[in-house]
Amino acid sequence: MSVLVFVESAEGKIKKTSLEAVAYGAKMSDEVVVVAFGNVASDELESTGKYGANKVLHISDDSYNDGVIQAYATAIAQAMDQSGADALVMANSSLGTPVAARVAIKKGAGLVTNVSDLPDTSNGFEVKKSIYTGKAFATVKVDKAIKVLAIKKNAVELVEGSGSAAVEAFSPNAQDGDFATKITATKKAEGDVLLPEAEIVVSGGRGLKGPENWGMIEDLAKTLGAATGCSKPVSDMDWRPHHEHVGQTGVKVAPNLYIAVGISGAIQHLAGVNSSKNIVVINKDPEAPFFKAADYGIVGDAFEVLPKLTEAIKALK
């Protein structure tokens, strides 16, 4: 098997979830080629070798700076032809997943997204994926010769090795309609730790009473180098931006540590956090359902507990 890995970058740096995709590809095969788009320096691209890539196909044409779904799908399908790949791996993301869908059709491939584990090839090609929004898993058998996999965060452990990948320029042939969607503007939250990728997340719910109290959440997050999140009503009321809303209908996070403050723990919220490795719940109601899903809990008033917690962590650092 030969694997192509589509990696994404932000501000010239390859995303950690994409490096996990490279590491995942390297577990599947010794032949791993990466395809990367946009303005990324050669040494950054070469460093994918540390996770098992042999070669990088770099598409530096400016028209690919924005993630246009159709254009990326065409380019990636061509990169698969170029490298002779019979499998494509990428991170499950707002770009990766829609692109994967189109590539799968172009290549007549079997597609699995939300993949949570390495494939089992002892009996055909079987792979495990998360379903029912994290409440269960399904193992599926891919029926096609070509496989396309979009993997969840933490599906594979990231261990840095010492290799270096050879970078080659690659120029795809855009097809009619590839740029039919025009990206006219991109707005990004600046400087902050990105929620879907964060190792630590501090989330606030309706228990915080109003947007003016978010300073406490931000202080704790800053102290921990964490991203901030919230429950759905909080973003519905515009206390916080929509992209911070965690849960069934929002962002699904999988950090090492999730700290939930003033969130009751409705099943729809839990659906977005149940892949977290450790959960801390701070709630003044000892009956709050979130405690049942937590590893550590404090029954108390957020307005008293949070500042103390932030101080105690500052003291540690």
Binding site: S93, V140, T186, H243, N278, F291, V299
Partner: protein
Amino acid sequence: MKILVCITHVPDTTSRISFTDNDTKFDTNGVQFIIGPYDDYALARAVELKEANGATLTVLNVGLADAEPTIRKALAIGADDAIRVNAEPSDSLFVANQIAHYAKEGGYDLILMGRESIDFNGGVVHGMVGEILGLPSISPVMTLELDGNTAQLSREIEGGKEQIEVDLPFVAGCQEPIAEWKIPNMRGIMTARTKPLNVVEPVGDETGATLVNFEMPPAKGAVKMIDADNVGELVDLLKNEAKVL
């Protein structure tokens, strides 16, 4: 204008999930079924567009007869007619082929779906349908405004959003805050009973993947409670036991 909205028939978001038949079948016992929440956003926006611009609105579901109450609910919310492709929706590629076939036949200007189904969590059927039909596909879409033949969309990306311009026809996978979920009113419920619900047969049987079995996540250990006056103990546990600080 002709709008198609594709809806799933899925367990209510509060459902307890369990499996039967040696973990190969979803246990529907005591489970309430709903329109997929993201599909419900797509439907709500479609109803608004219909009210604003005039349009015919068709809902489509690939599913068995047990999905019909869910489809009737979509008719009560404001769709004009419905298509049920009579087949078990067991695989994304299979579903996408069905939708693409009937979407092409109907010549729709706008095909709206949810960003993902909440049972299978694929997030891919819209992209597959777009590719099969040679149409743009955009997901996850947070806002959608139409100006004649051109649409302005915003798409969520990690930690931000993109503004996108695209001409009809296209396929979109929708999420909030595109519209507020609509609750059917009495008149809607009454008229839904007589609106056409056409049952059609599937085309082809191609699949991309087949189910081997289901599995529940490992059970969670008991929560450790810490006194509110002793946050230092929490910090200590996070550092030395959980090793996350």
